[in-house]
Symmetry: C2
Subunit: 379 residues, 2 copies
């Protein structure tokens, strides 16, 4: 007998009720039944994105919508500012480069946060910057970025938009799309929206839609204007991933019922509990600045390979993530995003204690769990 428990920052666990909601006979994507489902989903997505604008839905993973965010707003030879503070910041730069967009990169040490002043300075120095690309939360390092402050700066500039990869943030962290002047916000299904991978979302401000009109980069599948026209008729331009959208409907209902503020507070509470437990175990948190409530990134103790911790936890059925790219072997990441509860977190910390002891790390059994229990009992 073997059970598996998923604590990776995407995909995340899907509620069993939602899995069953998707296991129903296939609806046709042009049927009135499906149109009424899409109408419902369309409204509820606005709530999660905190926007008045439509949220486009693509059958793809988040990266596809990231590509669309570039190709639908820019032209060849345009200049973009990219905050590269981890693997996903690098992805923005790669996509821009693939399409002949010039990039000015602000390179941040992985695990640290960009300063708003750095962005202001770059914009000052390079008035030709058409778009600033950033993450809401850099999944590879666990850092969240000061979107509100950055949004305020870019809002002042008529010819620059702010493009945010909120794939591992939306629905777990505060993201006020309209209020914070986030011009393009990209999200994915397999994170805090608690769905299987396969859907991507993108929301554009009125300002960003003006950019779309002028953008000359080639695009077809990820054509935002075409999708917007279809969505106005409660359709998608191409065949919708109907079963995932049925699941989305369920989870959006669930999110509205709990309330975004409560969900965010829950993530903050869980994050605190995991981080304190980790520290109580004598481990060092990797994320030095602006640690997110999405995941906890931990430095492997001296002499222990982080991948070995990940591997040994897997033997107990606990699936966490290692480090990506240059952080591989150095850190491990425990996600507390989405469909995760207190009992789950007790379990992952207990298993981590066992694995560390197995690996010869000096630790009083129960110390992490005890710390977590105290937080859960008192907060």
């Amino acid at each position: 007998m073997k059970k598996y428990y998923l604590f990776t920052p995407g995909p995340t666990p899907v509620p069993p009720e939602t899995l069953l909601a998707m296991a129903v006979p296939i609806l046709h994507h042009r049927s009135p039944q499906f149109a009424s489902i899409l109408a419902e989903v369309k409204e509820d997505l606005k709530y999660v994105f905190q926007t008045k604008n439509d949220v486009l839905i693509f059958a793809s993973t988040g990266t596809g919508a990231m590509e669309g965010a570039v190709t639908n707003t820019l032209s060849s030879g345009d200049t973009a500012l990219v905050v590269r503070a981890g693997k996903f910041g690098e992805r923005w730069a790669e996509i821009c480069e693939a399409y002949g967009v010039k990039t000015i990169n602000i390179d941040i040490e992985w695990g640290r946060c960009v300063k708003t002043a750095q962005i202001a300075e770059a914009l000052e120095k390079h008035p030709e910057i058409k778009a600033v690309f950033i993450q809401a939360h850099e999944t590879s390092t666990g850092v969240k970025f000061p979107l509100k402050e950055i949004g305020e700066i870019i809002h002042q500039k008529e010819d620059t938009i702010l493009v945010v990869d909120a794939i591992s943030a939306l629905g777990a962290m505060e993201i006020r799309t309209d209020e914070w002047y986030l011009d393009v916000v990209v999200a994915g299904s397999q994170k805090a929206l608690m769905l299987p991978p396969g859907l991507a979302f993108v929301c554009l401000s009125d300002k960003a839609w003006q950019f779309v009109k002028k953008a000359q980069l080639p695009r077809y599948y990820f054509d935002f204007l075409k999708e917007r026209k279809s969505l106005a008729k409660n359709q998608t331009a191409y065949t919708a991933a109907v079963s995932l959208i049925l699941g989305l409907r369920e989870n959006l209902k669930r999110i509205k019922e709990e309330g975004l503020e409560n969900i965010i507070a829950r993530h903050q509470r869980f994050s605190l509990a995991v981080k304190r437990a980790i520290e109580a175990m004598g481990l060092e948190l990797f994320t030095k600045e602006n640690p997110s409530e999405i995941l906890t990134a931990v430095l492997a103790p001296k002499g222990i390979d982080a991948q070995e911790i990940v591997k040994r936890l897997r033997a107990y059925g606990i699936i966490i993530a290692g480090g990506q790219a240059k952080l591989k072997g150095k850190i491990f990441r425990i996600s507390h995003m989405g469909y995760v509860d207190e009992q789950d977190l007790i379990m992952v910390i207990a298993a981590l204690e066992r694995v560390l002891i197995e690996l010869g790390y000096s630790l009083t059994p129960g110390i992490g769990v005890k710390t977590m229990q105290k937080i859960f009992l008192t907060s």
Copy 2:
């Protein structure tokens, strides 16, 4: 109480066992468990594609992989020959145009088939043609194209590849990728592979991979080389649509068990039964040349709007497709692709009889069903 029965040429019904196989806890896409599933799927896809080459898997619908087939094989300013014999032929041309590929179009009356000689002639006249784009089966008209003959011609040419949209064909019609020299074959999950929408597939010949090396068009999410490298490690480059791939594994097993030849024979038999029943009802088949075994396209009787037939069938829970673009209102299409059995077809013909009688069409009740019964009894 209301039941729904799906007879559209995508999405198609998904076997209930497969729906449940997808309703299991989410696997992580970088886990060894998932890698072993992908390894299995990779082999079984080769069987369905009748190829020795790897079949790439994308989280998208077929159109995304069609776009990838263009951007991964061509460069800006290249010339492509496009067979435009319906809505999906037009899509090839649109994608080429979106990326600055010059198109020479062979325009065929909708419902008719391209002649191999027309392609040979165009290639003769325009030696600069780098790629020929065609459908295996044009879903909008129900015509299938002589791929084997076309493949033989293009195989002679060192600098030209044949790119086939087999989205609504693969797994139902004969498609011998390697034997017929089909250089690029695109497929989708929601057709004869009996899955929900959300996966696209593409298979490239060695010759096509040589084109990929030289292709300069921009691409990122649909990067075939990157996917090939990942697939070699039993991974996908970006987050895999894990639940759909679990369903795919089930359906590929099912397909191997029945055997491709038997599946093709079943589709041919069903197609014959539907077409004869339609004729017995005094209706006219729309597809004049090379009608496919995938679907039956029918001209609405004089004075009756085809959309009205579609709509009234829906009231009985029978979901069929109308005509697309310029055929809207003129034809209706009954799919007999994928997870469809004899009883289903009896039901759809019986319902069609009722609807036609309601609409004032002169018809002896039972005539279509009787004809179908006879075929099922004797073949």
